[in-house]
Symmetry: C2
Subunit: 362 residues, 2 copies
């Protein structure tokens, strides 16, 4: 695949209104296609690449245009990386951990079970070497990656029956993404990874016993409450979840420097924007769900402890068979220890007091 191929097909689509720029006469008109791993019904996840594309156009006098395609319009939600790698599209908006089947090391760049929270993950990616490690991995797939927002801590999933002990996971057919699948498998569950748009039918048909996707806002839209009443927290296997825009390396290298800057900053803008949309929308969605009968439950501590041990065992296993995973785990764990220690001091001690003070201080 060469760059002309990537760009040629869409050049004919250029509307004439775009052909009269007031500025930037010498910069080329570029049209890209971006495939998303998510359906349009997930409005927050859809907003990230759409907002980024609008910003990129505005910063380039509309000369660099990116058209967004929802999951299934070009390829399926879990084929986004393949489509970028082969040059079917120039870019994808996706979650790296969808590709743990290719290499479990992808998990780090979405989220590791019991891993970094949203802010800690941002710090590791930018200042702890995380993004360099991501791109070392991605390069092998002909791709460069740009972090493009995060869901924040997720919920722990929807269940038809209550989870009282770690044994209640035994035999449970559980839709779950990323390396969490191995963690639950070790606890006796049958993990199944399905793209967002295909989860609800499987749950309704009974091919799944339980499901996690993100949190109240997205989960309400996907309709899980209609088939599973128990809604557990916290999503210990997804204490944050980073989305990435992945770009075909050759397409990237063909961009003028100013377009690269526009692309980068538009993704960086979404880093806080997408999270803020979740933080704004989740409180109301959770309230609606609970008002409609959803049973909110905290995972019992023995379940969290069993999962913690299971996660560590999985990390050791994978490290034994995958040198790249072992190397990233070392960086990630060291960073996590430092961040956890610091966040206990000012952030967590404030949260523990303030989040309940209105109810208990008189």
């Amino acid at each position: 695949m060469d760059r002309r191929m990537l760009l040629g097909s869409s050049a004919a689509l250029l509307p004439s209104a775009l052909a009269a720029p007031a500025v930037a006469q010498s910069l080329p008109e570029i049209r890209w296609r971006l495939t998303s791993s998510f359906p349009k019904s997930l409005d927050l996840l859809s907003s990230a690449p759409e907002s980024a594309a609008r910003r990129i156009a505005a910063l380039t006098d509309n000369r660099f245009q990116i058209r967004i395609f929802a999951a299934g319009e070009i390829v399926g939600g879990l084929q986004a990386l393949d489509a970028v790698q082969t040059g079917t599209v120039e870019a994808a908006f996706t979650a790296p951990y969808y590709y743990v089947g290719k290499d479990p090391t992808f998990a780090f760049f979405s989220v590791l079970p019991f891993g970094l929270t949203q802010r800690q993950m941002t710090a590791w990616l930018r200042h702890g070497g995380g993004l360099d490690l991501a791109n070392e991995l991605f390069r092998g797939y002909n791709v460069i990656g740009f972090p493009t927002g995060d869901t924040g801590a997720q919920m722990g999933g929807w269940f038809r029956k209550e989870i009282r002990t770690p044994d209640d996971f035994k035999g449970l057919k559980f839709r779950v993404a990323g390396l969490a699948g191995e963690v639950f498998a070790r606890m006796g569950a049958v993990p199944i990874q399905i793209a967002a748009g295909d989860i609800y039918p499987s749950l309704e048909r009974g091919t799944l016993d339980a499901v996690e996707f993100v949190g109240p806002h997205d989960d309400e839209r996907l309709g899980f409450a209609r088939v599973a009443p128990y809604y557990y927290y916290p999503g210990f296997f997804e204490p944050s979840a980073r989305l990435f825009t992945m770009v075909n390396l050759r397409a990237w290298e063909g961009l003028p420097e100013q377009y690269k800057q526009a692309f980068q900053v538009a993704c960086l803008e979404q880093e806080s924007e997408l999270t803020s949309r979740y933080d704004h929308s989740n409180p109301q969605a959770l309230r609606r769900l609970v008002a409609a009968g959803t049973q909110l439950r905290a995972y019992p501590r023995p379940v969290l402890e069993a999962a913690w041990r299971s996660a560590n065992a999985v990390f050791e296993d994978v490290s034994q068979r995958n040198e790249g995973f072992r190397k990233v785990l070392e960086s990630y764990r060291r960073y996590r220890d430092d961040e956890f220690t610091w966040f206990r001091v000012a952030e967590n001690s404030y949260d523990n007091f303030a989040f309940t003070a209105a109810q208990v201080v008189r």
Copy 2:
């Protein structure tokens, strides 16, 4: 002041290398001056406007250049708003709560004691109406504001003596910023607001008994550990602290649309970037401080409870005398209640388990 005045003086400074753009021939060369409220020694706070200015230049083919001046180079750290209002400079990087003396309503847009955390604040500003309320206030000062990063939850200050009860604040000369001054005054302290660069000499001379600034990274640079051994947490009066870039309204209105976009997105980029720098740097700084003898202390719960009651009394008092404050407080409190309720679920329950799991789960 008209726009030509603002732009005219610096046009002569244009270096010839900048006069040969490859693109954007019809866009004007613009030079702005930005005054910071902080000294250069505070490397993280200084990095935010510097990085934003570099990004803006890169996005405009170097035609829109912003030169950064540290506190004291043009005006003092607490005169930044005045300098923008009168057109002495086009922009400032500052903390809105430095101007509570003009109007206590400014406090909301940095941080309110027992207020929103960093992510919650971002959500309120962007999606809960906070930024519109900020700009309603700022417009009266001839200014438009752009959030440009946050410190995260701060520490609770450096003290010469231990704080064992709420009474230990009585008579204490305490450097503290924003509306927290009134909260501590009601507890018997003598609050004093001093710009960052002037705090250390006052502490050394004994004109202050105690001081808070930000957190381990900045506080280490300001040398507080050399004169006050007890370092308290959490900074309940600053559970986050938003920095703003403030721009003279007339200068803003004179920008071409593409420059406005570049300016906005460069500030938005810093929203996550500055916080991530703090989150990366604070763990190491705290470790160094403690290794060098700093005594880390949690505020006793009765102190937090007394401060909570004092803060609420201050909010009521100020609301009585200031209609604008009352209006913003209503929006802010409603939002805070929703956010606190939601963040207890997935985020806080995860943090409480995971931040200690490595020490306690076997």
